[in-house]
C-alpha cells in the first residue's frame, strides 16, 4: 500500500504520516520546501512525540521519502500508482495543490480517494471542484473520491533542524481519531489506524467547532485579557476554567438540540477538552490559538456560530457572549487581523465593529449578551492593563 501525503507540515508528518506508517503503508510526502525534501530523503525518518496525561510516547516513522512540490512530473508519477492520497496543506492552500492532484489523476487507471486532512466541512467538495478546473470537461473525475477529514490531534511543534542529519521530532497530543466524510468517498478505503468513516460528517465537524474550537478560542481570548502567554496557564486560572466550561456546555446543549444527545456527548467530553487545552507539553501560545480574530468572530465561526446554535436551542449563551467580547479586545502587533480589528474598534467603536464582523447586534440574545460583556469590559479598560478579576471585571 502506498500513500502520497501532500503537505509535510505538522499535521502531515505529525499525524497523517504516523498513522499511515503504523498502518503499514509506504509513505511519500510532497513537500513545499526543497530543503525539507532533501532532509527527508537524506534522513528517511522522523519521530512523533505524543505528550499527554499518560506521559510521553515517542514513535519512529521510518522508511519515508519525499518529492518537492515544484517537481510536478515526479509528483504526478507518485500519485499515479498511489493507493491513497492525503492533503494537509491548510484549507486556503487547497487551490494551490489542485493542479498537482489533477496531473496525477490523469495518469491513473484505477480510481483513488483523496482525503483532505483540513478540518473543514467543505474540504472534500471544494478540492474536487479545484481539481476539476485542471481537467478536461469530459474527464471522469467522479470515479475518484474527495473527502474531508476531521482530525483531533494537535501538533504544535517541529523540533530539530532540516539542515542536520538528525531526525526531526513532531510534538503533539495523543489523540489519533480521524473522521472521514463518507459522502465524498468512492470505493473502499485502505485500513488506517484510528479512522472512522462517518455518514454524519457535518455533525462531527460542528461538534469539534462548537465544543473544542470554541473552548480553545475562549481560553485564548480570556487568557489574553488576563495577561497570560500560554493556553495551558490560562485554563488553570479558576475563573477562566469556569468560563470555558460554561462555553463548552452551551455548545453541547446547542449540539444536542440540533444533532441529538449522543453526538453532543457528556461530561467526559468536557473533561477531555479541558485536559487537552491544559497540556503544557504542547507549549501552545495564546498568540497562536487567538490569531486571526476577525476570522474567528465571523458569523458562522466557532464563537458566534456556536452562540447562535445555543440560542436556537433556547440556551442563553452567556459564556459565549463573554468570549466574543473578550475576542474584541485581542491585540497582537504581529497579527494583521488583530491590528485590523483594533483599528476598526478605534474608528467605529466595539458594538458597531462586532455588528460588521459577526452580524451580531442587540436584536438577538447572543448579540445583547456579547454587547453587555463588551460594555462591562470597556468600563475600566486601560491600555496595557490586564484583568485581575474576571467575575467582577477588575482591571489591574
Amino acid at each position: 500500500m502506498k500513500t502520497v501525503i501532500i503537505g509535510a507540515g505538522k499535521i502531515g508528518c505529525g499525524l497523517a504520516g504516523q498513522l499511515l506508517h503504523d498502518s503499514g503503508h509506504e509513505v511519500v510526502f510532497v513537500a513545499r520546501s526543497q530543503d525539507f525534501t532533501e532532509h527527508l530523503n537524506r534522513v528517511g525518518r522522523y519521530f512523533v512525540r505524543l505528550v499527554g496525561q499518560g506521559g510521553i510516547r515517542e514513535m519512529l516513522v521510518d522508511g519515508v521519502r519525499a518529492v518537492a512540490a515544484c517537481e510536478t512530473e515526479f509528483v504526478a508519477e507518485e500519485i499515479a500508482d498511489a493507493d491513497l492520497v492525503i492533503t494537509s496543506v491548510g484549507f486556503d492552500n487547497l487551490q494551490l495543490i489542485a493542479r498537482l492532484i489533477a496531473e496525477g489523476i490523469k495518469r491513473r487507471t484505477a480510481p483513488v480517494n483523496v482525503l483532505a486532512f483540513e478540518n473543514s466541512g467543505s474540504a472534500g467538495p471544494s478540492l474536487r471542484s479545484f481539481v476539476a478546473k485542471y481537467l478536461p470537461v469530459d474527464f471522469p473525475l467522479d470515479r475518484h473520491g474527495f473527502a474531508g477529514v476531521l482530525i483531533s490531534r494537535a501538533v504544535t511543534q517541529r523540533l530539530g533542524d532540516i539542515a542536520a542529519n538528525a531526525p526531526l521530532v513532531f510534538v503533539g497530543d495523543p489523540y489519533s481519531r480521524i473522521i472521514v466524510d463518507s459522502a465524498g468517498l468512492r470505493g473502499p478505503l485502505p485500513h488506517v489506524e484510528g479512522m472512522i468513516v462517518a455518514d454524519n460528517y457535518d455533525a462531527w465537524v460542528q461538534k469539534k467547532f462548537c465544543m473544542f474550537s470554541a473552548a480553545h478560542a475562549t481560553t485564548a481570548y480570556l487568557g489574553h485579557l488576563k495577561g497570560y502567554k500560554y493556553v495551558h496557564t490560562a485554563i488553570r486560572d479558576p475563573q477562566i476554567r469556569a468560563a470555558v466550561l460554561t462555553v463548552i456546555k452551551e455548545g453541547q446543549q446547542g449540539l444536542a438540540a440540533r444533532y441529538g444527545a449522543e453526538l453532543a456527548g457528556d461530561e467526559s467530553d468536557c473533561r477531555e477538552i479541558l485536559e487537552r487545552i491544559g497540556n503544557a507539553y504542547l507549549c501552545d501560545p495564546i498568540s497562536r490559538v487567538g490569531r486571526e480574530p476577525c476570522r474567528k468572530l465571523k458569523s458562522e465561526d466557532r464563537l458566534v456560530g456556536t452562540a447562535r446554535l445555543a440560542e436556537a436551542a433556547g440556551v442563553e449563551p452567556r459564556g459565549l457572549g463573554l468570549a466574543i467580547a473578550a475576542a474584541m479586545f485581542y491585540t497582537n502587533q504581529k497579527d494583521p487581523s488583530a491590528f485590523e480589528l483594533q483599528h476598526q474598534v478605534l474608528i467605529m467603536g466595539g458594538e458597531e465593529t462586532l455588528r460588521q464582523f459577526s452580524g451580531l447586534d442587540n436584536t438577538s440574545k447572543s448579540g445583547r449578551l456579547a454587547n453587555e460583556s463588551l460594555y462591562r469590559l470597556t468600563d475600566g479598560w486601560r491600555r496595557g492593563g490586564v484583568i485581575t478579576n474576571l467575575d467582577k471585571m477588575v482591571w489591574a
Binding site: V51, T233, A280, G384, G385
Partner: protein, 306 residues
C-alpha cells in the same frame, strides 16, 4: 527544559504559597526543575557550573547572590539578571539608577556617621535605613536628634531619605514582564492579612513609573514601593523578585513568564546550534574545496582535513 530555582533556606514569609505554587506548576508543565538552596550545601566554587537552561534567582541573600555570581560568570541565564539583582540589593546604587532614569525619589543622603544627619533634621524628619536592608527591617523615622541618638548598631554606610508624609497607605506595584499590578498596603504591615493589602487600580502614571523602573534596571520581575505625598509619587524602595502578596493569580503569572523565558532561551540555543552547524558545514565545504585545489596543485594538504 531544565530550570534551577535558587531559593532562600528560610522564606521571608512562610504563609505565602506563591513560590511553592510556582514550583508545583512548573513541574506540572513538564519542567525538569531543581530547587537549589545555597545555604544547604558546602559549595565548591570551582565545581559550580551551569547545568540548567535557566536559573530563577529568588534568593537575594549573600549566599544566593554569591552562587548567582558564579553562574553568571560561567554564562548562565538568570532571572533576574545577576548584575541587576546586585544593584537592587544596594539602596545607594538603586537610588542612583532611579535618579538617572529621572524617577522621583525623596532627597537621599549617605553617610558613615549617623550624627552627620543631625543638621538635616531642621528641614523635617528623615527615614534612616540600612543600605542593604530588606523587608522594612531597621527602618526608623527620625524627627529629632534624640531619636537619631537612639538608633544603635546601624550598619554603615547609613542611608537616609527625607520623610515624605504619605497621603494614605503605600502603593505596592508589582511588575511581571511588562504587566503592572497594584496593592494598597499599610506600612508597616504586621500581619499576613495586612501584607496582602487591598487591590489598587494602577493609574497610567503609576504604570509608567513601574515600567520605567523595570526598564532602568533591566529586570522583568520586580516590586516598586511608591508613597503618594501631596499627590506626588515618590519611589521609596525597589525589590528584585518580591513576594507578590496580594496580586491575584501571582503564581500562575510567574510560572507562565518563567516557562516562557526558559522556552525562549531554549529556542535561541537551538537556533544558535543550527547556525553553528550551518557555519561548520560551510567551513568544511571551503576546506574541502581548498584540499581539492591543493591536491590538484600537488601541494599535499594533509589528508583528514576533509
Amino acid at each position: 527544559m531544565k530550570i534551577g530555582m535558587i531559593v532562600p533556606k528560610q522564606p521571608k514569609d512562610k504563609n505565602s504559597l506563591v513560590m511553592p505554587e510556582v514550583i508545583r506548576l512548573l513541574k506540572e508543565y513538564g519542567v525538569d526543575l531543581d530547587v537549589i538552596c545555597p545555604e544547604d550545601h558546602l559549595n565548591h566554587i570551582c565545581q559550580i557550573r551551569p547545568e540548567h537552561d535557566l536559573y530563577v534567582l529568588k534568593d537575594t541573600t549573600d549566599m544566593g547572590l554569591g552562587l548567582a555570581g558564579i553562574l553568571h560568570a560561567a554564562g548562565a541565564a538568570i532571572i533576574n539578571p545577576y548584575s541587576a539583582s546586585m544593584i537592587l540589593r544596594d539602596k545607594i546604587a538603586t537610588t542612583g539608577v532611579l535618579k538617572a532614569a529621572q524617577l522621583l525619589v525623596p532627597e537621599t543622603y549617605v553617610t558613615s556617621t549617623l550624627l552627620q544627619l543631625a543638621p538635616l533634621l531642621a528641614d523635617g524628619p528623615l527615614v534612616v535605613k540600612p543600605y542593604r536592608g530588606r523587608d522594612g527591617q531597621e527602618v526608623h523615622i527620625v524627627h529629632n536628634e534624640a531619636e537619631l541618638a537612639q538608633i544603635h548598631a546601624c550598619r554603615t554606610p547609613v542611608f537616609a531619605q527625607r520623610y515624605r508624609k504619605p497621603d494614605g497607605p503605600d502603593n505596592k506595584l508589582y511588575v511581571i514582564d511588562g504587566q503592572v499590578f497594584g496593592v494598597l498596603r499599610k506600612w508597616p504591615a504586621a500581619t499576613y492579612e495586612e501584607k496582602l493589602g487591598s487591590p489598587l487600580t494602577v493609574t497610567p502614571i503609576l504604570r509608567n513609573y513601574a515600567l520605567r523602573c523595570s526598564e532602568a534596571f533591566g529586570v522583568k520581575i520586580m516590586g516598586v514601593d511608591v508613597v503618594m505625598s501631596k499627590g506626588e509619587p515618590y519611589i521609596v524602595d525597589v525589590q528584585s523578585f518580591p513576594g507578590f502578596k496580594g496580586v491575584p493569580d501571582a503564581a500562575l503569572r510567574l510560572a507562565d513568564y518563567i516557562f516562557h523565558a526558559a522556552k525562549e532561551i531554549m529556542d535561541k540555543k537551538n537556533e544558535g546550534a543550527r547556525l553553528a552547524q550551518v557555519a561548520a558545514v560551510a567551513s568544511n565545504a571551503v576546506l574541502c574545496g581548498a584540499a581539492m585545489i591543493d591536491t590538484f596543485l600537488g601541494s599535499g594538504m594533509p589528508a583528514g582535513l576533509c
